[in-house]
């Protein structure tokens, strides 16, 4: 019997959880199907099927689903409500399965389980069992896959091996959602361009627990959204860290939480720090030339200060 093919759209929270998700499905003896990276073709497909007001990351997600729909038996589109106590995720994650179903025709079956850990973390196990039931796997197999997947995820956030710190003369803090910062297509190779310019990028994921915690402790009010709060905490950490030479904020066009938290961070940056700060808004029409011009000017600014 051939393995069940599970399509994993390489977008949105894939970038945070893929190590866990992939290990989980592989332990269930499934085959993972995914695009090698986001491409123009994928984004174009997404833009075409997406509802007009969807944000850029959702458009990209839909493009990935389009790409996978003829290649997989199931596509994993979880409904992520909450991943920590008393906090939520952005509404787009709450309605993602509906968004996919209403935008795309000819879909294979979706694994659209609801992940809601607002009350208790152990709900995650129930979700895992639900998935394995849908895939006709045994209870024992599912427990094993759950444990392995969970451990893989924990390892990935503890030792972000694929998020290697790079070398460089300058250190620039990057603020932005993981699905923008780690998608080279959507951010137009920003991290690599920085590297070419002799700059080392520092992201939220590279901070250790203590650093993030000290940043988060300065957030004056509950942020409701897990990832926006992390971003804000990171920003506060950057403001105070004297190893950082500058901060670049990446926001996505149409992103609701960015329009709020992004603006808040930009204002706080003006008040709380003298560090060079630049905000870049990305959308499907963003020209690379403009991005490069700004990046180069930003790096020149850092060098200028240095001399």
């Amino acid at each position: 019997m051939s393995k069940i093919k599970i399509g994993l759209p390489r977008a949105l929270l894939y970038h945070r959880y893929y190590e866990g998700w992939e290990t989980f499905f592989e332990s269930l003896d499934c085959e993972i199907v995914k695009a090698k990276s986001s491409t123009k073709y994928i984004l174009d497909r997404g833009v075409k099927v997406a509802e007009e007001e969807a944000c850029l990351p959702v458009k990209l997600f839909l493009g990935h689903v389009e790409y996978l729909k003829d290649k997989s038996d199931y596509i994993f589109v979880p409904r992520l409500v909450s991943v920590e106590k008393n906090k939520y995720l952005c509404p787009k994650f709450l309605g993602l399965p509906e968004m996919v179903k209403s935008s795309i025709t000819g879909l294979p079956k979706l694994i659209d389980v609801t992940i809601d850990l607002r009350d208790r973390k152990s709900n995650l196990l129930k979700v895992a069992l639900e998935i394995t039931q849908q895939l006709n796997k045994s209870y024992y197999q599912s427990l094993k896959a759950f444990v392995q997947g969970y451990l893989a995820f924990k390892r990935s956030i503890q030792y972000p091996s694929n998020r290697q710190k790079q070398r460089g003369q300058y250190k620039v803090g990057i603020l932005g959602h993981e699905y923008i910062v780690y998608d080279d297509y959507i951010n137009m190779g920003l991290i690599n361009k920085l590297k070419e310019l002799g700059v080392r990028a520092v992201t939220t994921e590279m901070l250790d627990k203590r650093e993030l915690k000290s940043g988060l402790s300065q957030v004056s009010k509950d942020m409701f959204w897990t990832f926006s709060e992390r971003m804000l905490g990171t920003a506060y950490h950057f403001f105070e860290n004297n190893e950082i030479d500058g901060i670049i904020q990446l926001t996505a066009f149409g992103c609701g939480s960015d329009s709020l938290v992004g603006e808040m961070i930009a204002r706080e940056a003006r008040d709380k720090t003298d560090l060079p700060f630049m905000s870049l808004n990305l959308d499907e029409h963003t020209g690379e030339a403009g991005l490069i011009t700004r990046l180069e000017a930003f790096i020149d600014m850092l060098k200028w200060r240095d001399n």
Partner: protein, 323 residues
């Protein structure tokens, strides 16, 4: 023979070239329309600037949106983005400047400096309302010489309110006001104010605009816009002497600096204006990214190419056919 440095700024609307002496004094300047033909503009510009020029070129710098292209053709010692080039020139010509307002053909920028150092900047993103191209377009619609635009605005006593958020709406608003019978002067003055408001709300949003303020770029020739800036900011705005070639000026200063570090210039000489340069483009089909690749040929020989997202372009693995 005197020694000097060449600065070339190839923008969307104009191509500017300056020659600076080793004392940083301007020897010659040139402002040309790019007319969508950057290669021709660079070659013509070089030819013109060379006429009767008794200067030995010790270094050359390029900037502007076609800086890479220009850099390949002339053999630049430094290829710099226009934000840095403008900042360098601004702070050189007006020492102590704290704010640079720059409006060019298709982009506008604001550069904030403190103690001679750039501390913040912004550039227009999605909207070109209020840049030179739009003013050009409106001038030709009204059958006015663009040079007259600013003078006319100054003659207005009662500027009308024009929507400046978007150039398309600004145009319909202007037409509407014309049809109502408002005078041309008032409409143009109103447009100038609208553009300045748009600039300050967009590019200038959240920026600390302190004196001394300089206004440069092609649009700084427009007295009406300058007056509108002064009205809105309630302070004096300085238009530097070489306001329309500041990018090129900065780039020549940067060239001087680069050559001091490198000791030797890469300048290909003025005879590059005699070579035949052609640019071609194709969409690479090697992966689904379909990068748009530009090839630059000198006398039929490939001398440069860019546009790749991957490293395939660097070792010329991909043929122009894209296969």
């Amino acid at each position: 023979m005197k020694k000097g440095f060449l600065g070339i700024d190839v923008g969307s609307v104009s191509t500017n070239i300056v020659v600076l002496g080793t004392d940083n004094k301007l020897i010659k300047k040139l402002y040309l329309r790019t007319n969508g033909q950057p290669i021709d503009a660079i070659q013509n510009g070089l030819k013109k600037i060379e006429e009767n020029l008794e200067v030995e070129i010790m270094g050359v710098g390029t900037t502007g949106s076609a800086r890479e292209l220009a850099g390949v053709i002339v053999g630049a010692d430094v290829v710099k983005n226009e934000i840095t080039a403008h900042a360098v020139a601004g702070s050189h010509l007006v020492p102590g400047v704290k704010t640079i307002l720059e409006i060019g053909g298709q982009d506008s920028k604001i550069i904030i400096l403190r103690d001679g150092i750039v501390v913040d900047f912004a550039m227009n993103t999605v909207c070109a309302a209020g840049t030179g191209s739009f003013l050009d377009q409106q001038a030709s619609r009204l059958e006015l010489a663009i040079e007259k635009f600013g003078e006319l605005a100054l003659e207005s006593d009662n500027p009308v309110r024009i929507a400046g958020r978007c150039s398309v709406f600004a145009e319909s608003d202007m037409i509407h006001k014309q049809q109502l019978g408002h005078s041309l002067e008032d409409i143009i003055a109103g447009l100038s104010q609208a553009l300045v408001r748009n600039y300050l709300n967009n590019v200038g949003q959240g920026k600390e605009i302190l004196e001394p303020i300089i206004f440069q770029g092609g649009v700084a020739a427009n007295q009406g816009i300058k007056a509108a800036f002064e009205g809105e900011l309630d302070t004096e705005v300085i238009v530097p002497k070489y306001y329309n070639v500041m990018g090129a000026f900065g780039s020549a200063l940067l060239a001087k600096e680069a050559v001091q570090e490198n000791d030797e210039s890469n300048f290909n000489g003025f005879n590059v204006s005699d070579f035949d340069y052609t640019a071609s483009s194709f969409e690479c089909q090697q992966c689904p990214n379909h990068c748009e690749i530009i090839n630059i040929h000198q006398e039929g020989k490939l001398v440069a190419r860019w546009g790749f997202k991957c490293s395939k372009g660097e070792n010329n693995q991909v043929q122009s056919s894209g296969k």
